[in-house]
Symmetry: C2
Subunit: 345 residues, 2 copies
């Protein structure tokens, strides 16, 4: 899922996103949308779909991750989380119930449980207590959703979130609890927060063994192209990450041959197309030398081009993974891709 | 002509520019292109067309205006102008001959004379001496161009530039000199530098009476939609200006009903389309409330949308002006448009 934090996948028109990158679903961030444009404006537009003109699926996170990572003076209690806006310092209080209301108003097709995302490293005692609170919050989310049906006339699928930091026994315990909720899909949170990739894979492996395989498994906030392929191999079905868009704005291009830092002088007079794979129009219509120049001159078109390239590559990668799974060649293809994509060009 | 200063119309893909805004020609700035990406890179790409992937007409200015307005420590002498780069302070020297060479290397379809653009206000004596130097520089440009043919196998049309500040007698004298050069088109420089609109119109009127009407008359750096219509009425055929793009990035939209500051709170819950005229896709697909949100959240997509809207409106305006001239209704249409466009919505 490309990330459209504040009702925009940064630097990409909705039409371009559909026609060139063609994702089935994109993500919005409840925390950001709550602060700007705010719930009154979204409600007036009939929800986020209408507000931003996006007629495909949307998923919203619960705002939990941003409350912990972006806002100041946060206080986590059983009742909920008090925090200050990173924009203007204004004080707010999120509870499992209020966050379900926010996600009803935003109106995404998939909505997420309110959880605590523990930091890395995290001591065992804290991780265990936090996990139990996340489970209690899940029950409160479910109860509240039953009492507050959707407001725009279509169903919203609710996904609970496995926590448990990097402790296998906690992860298994949490996965059992989450699976028991019998939700239409299940998420794995609290990873990609600084832990080594091997720990991430170990946790995903342990959790995927428990979460039902006939329902989508969503690993939140992951990751590099290699992270994505490795987790697909472990049974993960859905991902979101700012990496393709954020790194693009810093001049880093992901390709099937490896990564490119387009700001490097070596590309200055390389007039070949951006990427011979030609997944999106930018790969075919712009040269490396031109994109390098746009970054050197700080022209925003450079960021736009790199963003479209990276999103096009990410979506190609997961589509190709699906095709390879279906035709039985995923494992060998994955090994080869992981070797290639690790290179710096 | 949309302005593509450093080989990019800021925030707009070349494909979008062609398909949505559809200009026959865009402008590049010699001063900026000389500094970045530099002549070696442009030459390696076979010129600016190939470098930026633009297969329609290009015009480059001579760099004179930027040398006077952007660079530090400039010294104007008969031989040429010494200046320091606004980017890194490096020292350079432009002469009429060197600037013709630069424009040969950039390879635009229309190239401009190297002139001195006098400031406003400017005392008579300075304006007169500067004008004579600009005329002598014109002769040097013409001599040098004869000795240095185009390098990419197609013709480059050379336009000389009328100067003379806001003095009617100097403007007439300069227009006679420029017309005598019998170039394929003629430009009017040194206006839109801070003088009242009435002085600009008086100068354009005096000059257009002398420049031949069968050749395009190009008023450089102008202007607002109203400025453009008034100057068309006086006989001007070509314009370039950063206003539609620069003002867009500040949230100012030009429409046929007047100007909109999309940052104003009044648009916060206005879910109507950006512009009912629907000239480009952004006018139809995005609402005022959404665009206002993007500016409030400092999302670059806001600048992209506003840029496409404004360029679409400017190109509509000049196409409509041409149509009205041909069907004989220009004068009444112009009066009505000038009244409407003066409003702030």
């Amino acid at each position: 899922m490309p990330v459209g934090t504040v009702a925009s996948v940064k630097g990409v028109h909705q039409r371009e996103l559909k026609e060139e990158i063609d994702p089935d679903i994109i993500l919005g961030n409840t925390y950001h949308l709550f602060l700007r444009p705010g719930m009154d404006i979204l409600k007036g537009a009939g929800g986020l779909h209408g507000f931003m003109g996006w007629d495909r699926a949307l998923l919203t996170d619960s705002g939990g991750y941003q409350v912990y990572s972006l806002s100041g003076n946060r206080k986590i209690r059983e009742e909920g989380v008090q925090f200050q806006s990173h924009i203007d310092g204004s004080r707010h209080f999120f509870t499992p119930e209020s966050v379900m209301d926010l996600q009803r108003t935003i109106g995404a097709d998939i909505i997420m449980a309110f959880d605590e995302c523990t930091p890395y490293p995290c001591d065992y005692r804290y991780a265990e207590e936090s996990m139990h609170m996340t489970h209690r919050w899940l029950d409160r989310c479910l109860t509240h959703l039953k009492e507050s049906p959707p407001i725009y006339g279509f169903e919203q699928l609710f996904f609970p979130i496995v926590q448990g930091s990097t402790y296998t026994d906690l992860r298994k315990q949490s996965a059992e609890y989450i699976a028991a909720a019998d939700a239409p899909g299940n998420a794995i949170g609290g990873l990609s927060v600084g832990e080594p990739a091997e720990e991430m894979y170990a946790m995903a492996d342990a959790v995927c063994a428990i979460l039902p395989e006939e329902k989508p498994r969503y690993l939140m906030g992951v990751g590099t192209p290699i992270n994505i392929l490795e987790n697909i191999a472990l049974g993960v079905d859905m991902f979101d990450c700012v990496m393709p868009t954020r790194n693009a704005r810093n001049g880093m291009l992901f390709t099937s041959e490896g990564t490119i830092n387009i700001k490097n002088k070596k590309w200055e007079d390389d007039y070949t197309p951006l990427d011979p794979m030609g997944i999106t129009f930018v790969d075919r219509e712009y040269s490396k030398a031109y994109l390098r120049h746009l970054f050197a001159a700080n022209e925003y078109l450079g960021k736009q081009i790199a963003t479209i390239h990276n999103l096009g590559f990410y979506l190609w990668l997961v589509r190709e993974a699906r095709r390879r799974i279906l035709d039985g060649t995923f494992a060998s293809w994955k090994s080869q891709m992981v070797r290639q994509m690790d290179k710096r060009l």
